[in-house]
């Protein structure tokens, strides 16, 4: 497979996964903004912190204004991580590999791009239709996942796509978790009620699973347990790293080039930091430190991956 193609497939999926996580977080934030409870001060803050590079002061102003926050996060091209920019980049990547993805996948990405560029979308976000707009994009994203799964051939391209998807997911879960636990100073004893955690869990599509699995009141502890270690929760760090590790191994097996051994080794170290750990260990060493470590390692891995397989220019 051409290095450029591998690069584009990897990034196509990273962007699509990023859009998906972002939309789920926004939907939760938006719905929460109507609840007049103390947690409402949290509403737009995580999304603005993660998906913009605004100053603390700008975030303070923006988070009080639903429409402005939504429009900045979704449509503003000055924001390098706005949904519009993310979709545009996803489409550019898809365009460059149009002959390597199926026609169905391309048409879906293309359609999403045209939807975010449809006339009048900014007005819709300002009115009662805002939630429908967000919902429709979540649906398009789900369709993208389904279409990709049911039409893309399994092979090298598929491996790069999934490696991109699960690295991005892992980063996102770490980011989201970080911003919510920061509010409680990464302290498992400083109990918050479930309403506080509900936004995090909804943003990770894990609220229902949480209710089913945990009946005691140690919410901080339970939430950390779920988002870090639950093997059956598709957005847990464990699950995402486990999948990414599998696809990396498949890639290395079919591309035995210089550097692939080191790449596998360094990712394996990160993976074992969750595989051979439990919450007590993480608590002892500090959750904040651990989450920062995961993000740092993932970013370093991304650079090494580029050097090993994508260096074509």
């Amino acid at each position: 497979m051409l290095s450029r193609i591998a690069d584009s497939l990897y990034w196509l999926q990273r962007y699509m996964e990023r859009a998906d996580g972002m939309l789920r977080l926004m939907k939760t934030s938006y719905i929460l903004s109507f609840d007049k409870v103390q947690t409402s001060s949290m509403t737009w803050e995580p999304a603005l912190k993660i998906f913009t590079s605004l100053s603390a002061h700008d975030i303070e102003t923006l988070k009080k204004d639903n429409t402005a926050a939504l429009q900045y996060l979704l449509l503003d091209t000055k924001n390098f991580n706005s949904l519009k920019v993310i979709y545009t980049r996803a489409r550019e990547n898809a365009r460059g590999v149009q002959d390597q993805i199926t026609k169905e996948v391309w048409e879906q990405v293309n359609q999403i791009y045209h939807q975010i560029n449809q006339p009048g979308i900014a007005e819709k976000l300002a009115g009662p239709d805002a939630i429908n707009v967000i919902d429709s994009f979540i649906k398009y994203g789900d369709q993208f996942v389904g279409i990709t799964d049911s039409t893309m051939p399994r092979g090298q391209g598929w491996n790069y796509m999934n490696l991109g998807k699960f690295s991005e997911r892992c980063l996102q879960t770490a980011e989201f978790t970080h911003s919510f636990f920061k509010k409680v100073d990464f302290d498992f004893q400083n109990e918050q009620d479930i309403l506080f955690w509900r936004s995090l869990l909804l943003a990770l599509s894990g609220y229902e699973l949480h209710l089913k699995n945990y009946s005691n009141q140690q919410h901080n502890y339970n939430v950390a347990q779920q988002v870090l270690f639950d093997k059956n929760f598709p957005r847990s760090l464990y699950y995402a790293l486990d999948r990414a590790n599998k696809y990396l191994n498949d890639i290395a097996a079919s591309n035995p080039v210089e550097g692939s051994i080191q790449l596998k080794r360094s990712f394996g170290r990160l993976y074992s930091s969750i595989k051979f750990a439990d919450l007590d260990i993480v608590e002892r060493e500090g959750l904040e430190k651990y989450l920062i470590y995961v993000r740092k390692e993932l970013n370093e891995f991304g650079r090494a991956l580029g050097r090993t397989y994508f260096s074509y220019s």
């Binding site: 290095s3 450029r4 365009r95 149009q98 002959d99 026609k103 359609q111 045209h114 080039v257």
Partner: protein, 485 residues
């Protein structure tokens, strides 16, 4: 309005050949369209038009218009009423194009080797020497099977008496074939029954035929030669076509940065290391192909490509240097080439062409400029053209000055009224001018032309310029075998 009224009210313009209607009524090849159309309402037809546009949009068959820093995606306009050619007309066109390609191939072989045609005084040496696309860098390079013009898109027009003329030869990297194929797919969606009933000749094996040719051109007899399509990238206006063709043939779509040349062999950079490339179907112009030989500032090409080509380690499709054969001044000599190389008379006539470096002809053109179209010899895509019937006196004067400054850079031809076809515009069927570009494939086993080609239509009323960059659209083109023909 009913479809019947729409079709009945369709006007024909005097002294212009209309493809659907003549003074005696509807031509027989259009009967089925006429009948089906008459049963539909205007709303039905406009609904079909809308459906067609949506199909193009959702597939990303678009080009980008940049304004105010924001890219706006547009589709190439498509008109739903097909352009129909009878089987007998087509057979004549096919014979004519095959003859022409054969002669042009022999000419390219000759001009980059012994130059016998110049020595025998058929074509003046200075005409070739002054051609900007005469590429000395490829002199003496041997190409597989002596084929230079693997893919051509020769433009034809139809005059007022129904005769087909050759308008120009496109022998470098002709585009538009994906529109020919996609237009047919869209027609299948909007007029499914009509297509089945009408005995339309099939075109969708074009990519397979091309793929077979590309494989056959591989320099060595390999079981699995590596064939790639070289594109300038996603910002090129024909990028859709590049992805379309790569997908249809199942070959790799590569950019210049994906390739490198080592020891006069071409490789592509893959995740598993370098892999040798045997055949390149390039959609990049000669001058950008190799910065070591042509434009040094080109970032689209591959340094060293010409050396690998000269060595015979890679086949390049189309051959480099073909521009000398589709130069607009050389065009005038194609009938002589056919006589010289094949000893045959030309089947599809040229349009009379005046050479501006001949003083008598130049004077004649200056006297009759309002009846002429003046073209720059090295331009294409509808650029650098002056239409005498609609040009302002200032524009004419300016063109005269330009011609005097560089007579070799221009030719002139009498204005020919292109034939018209009905188009659905503003709720009415209106006549618009069209040309025809059939795509001919030349491989080791001979020349194949898919029946039909791309019909381009000038959507502005009265306009004779069909290029998409100048407000043109396209139509599906049917070759229909008539009973008792």
């Amino acid at each position: 309005m009913t479809g019947e009224a729409l079709f009945k009210q369709y006007p024909i313009v005097p002294h212009i050949w209309d493809e659907m209607k003549c003074s005696d009524g509807i031509r027989k090849q259009y009967y089925s369209i006429f009948e089906t159309g008459s049963k539909l309402s205007l709303e039905d037809l406009e609904q079909k038009h809308k459906l067609a546009s949506e199909l193009f949009m959702s597939q990303g068959i678009t080009f980008t218009v940049y304004s105010e820093n924001e890219g706006i995606e547009r589709i190439f306009p498509f008109d739903i009423i097909p352009r129909i050619i009878t089987g007998a007309e087509w057979n004549h066109i096919e014979k004519g194009i095959k003859q022409r390609i054969k002669a042009l191939n022999l000419f390219l072989k000759d001009i980059y080797n012994g130059q016998q045609i110049i020595k025998d005084g058929i074509i003046p040496a200075d005409l070739i020497a002054s051609c900007p696309h005469f590429t000395r860098e490829v002199f003496g390079i041997e190409v597989p099977y002596d084929i230079y013009v693997h893919i051509s898109g020769i433009d034809l027009i139809r005059g007022d008496d129904g005769t087909f003329y050759i308008l120009e030869d496109n022998l470098r990297t002709p585009s538009g074939v994906s529109y020919m194929l996609e237009n047919r797919e869209v027609t299948k969606r909007i007029f499914p029954n009509l297509l089945a009933e009408s005995n339309v000749r099939m075109i969708n094996n074009y990519p397979l035929m091309l793929h077979d040719n590309l494989i056959a051109l591989a320099p060595k007899q390999k079981a699995n030669p590596m064939v790639v399509l070289l594109t300038p990238g996603i910002y090129n206006s024909a990028y859709f076509e590049h992805t379309f063709m790569a997908r249809q043939m199942g070959i790799q779509l590569v950019e210049g940065r994906d390739l490198l040349v080592d020891n006069q062999k071409v490789y592509m950079k893959t995740t598993a290391g370098l892999r040798q490339v045997d055949v390149i179907y390039r959609r990049i112009d000669d001058e950008f192909l190799d910065p070591l030989v042509f434009r040094p500032d080109s970032a689209l090409g591959v340094p060293g490509l010409v050396s690998a080509y000269r060595k015979g380690n890679v086949a390049i499709i189309n051959a480099m240097g073909n521009g000398v054969a589709d130069d607009k001044a050389v065009y005038a000599y194609v009938p002589d080439m056919i006589k010289y190389y094949l000893n045959e008379d030309i089947i599809l006539p040229n349009i009379p062409t005046y050479q501006m470096n001949n003083a008598d002809e130049r004077e004649h053109v200056f006297q009759n400029m309002h009846k002429m179209v003046v073209k720059e010899t090295n331009q294409s895509g509808g650029y650098g053209m002056l239409m005498g019937n609609s040009a302002t006196p200032e524009a004419m004067e300016k063109t005269k000055q330009n011609i005097l400054a560089n007579p070799r850079g221009f030719i002139a031809q009498p204005l020919i009224q292109l034939s018209t076809v009905p188009c659905l515009i503003d709720g009415k069927l209106q006549p618009r001018h069209v040309d025809l570009r059939p795509y001919a494939l030349c491989g080791p086993n001979g020349i194949d032309i898919v029946p039909g080609g791309l019909t381009r239509v000038a959507l502005r009323e009265g306009s004779l310029v069909v290029n998409s960059s100048q407000g043109g659209g396209s139509k599906d083109t049917w070759v229909v075998d008539m009973p008792n023909e």
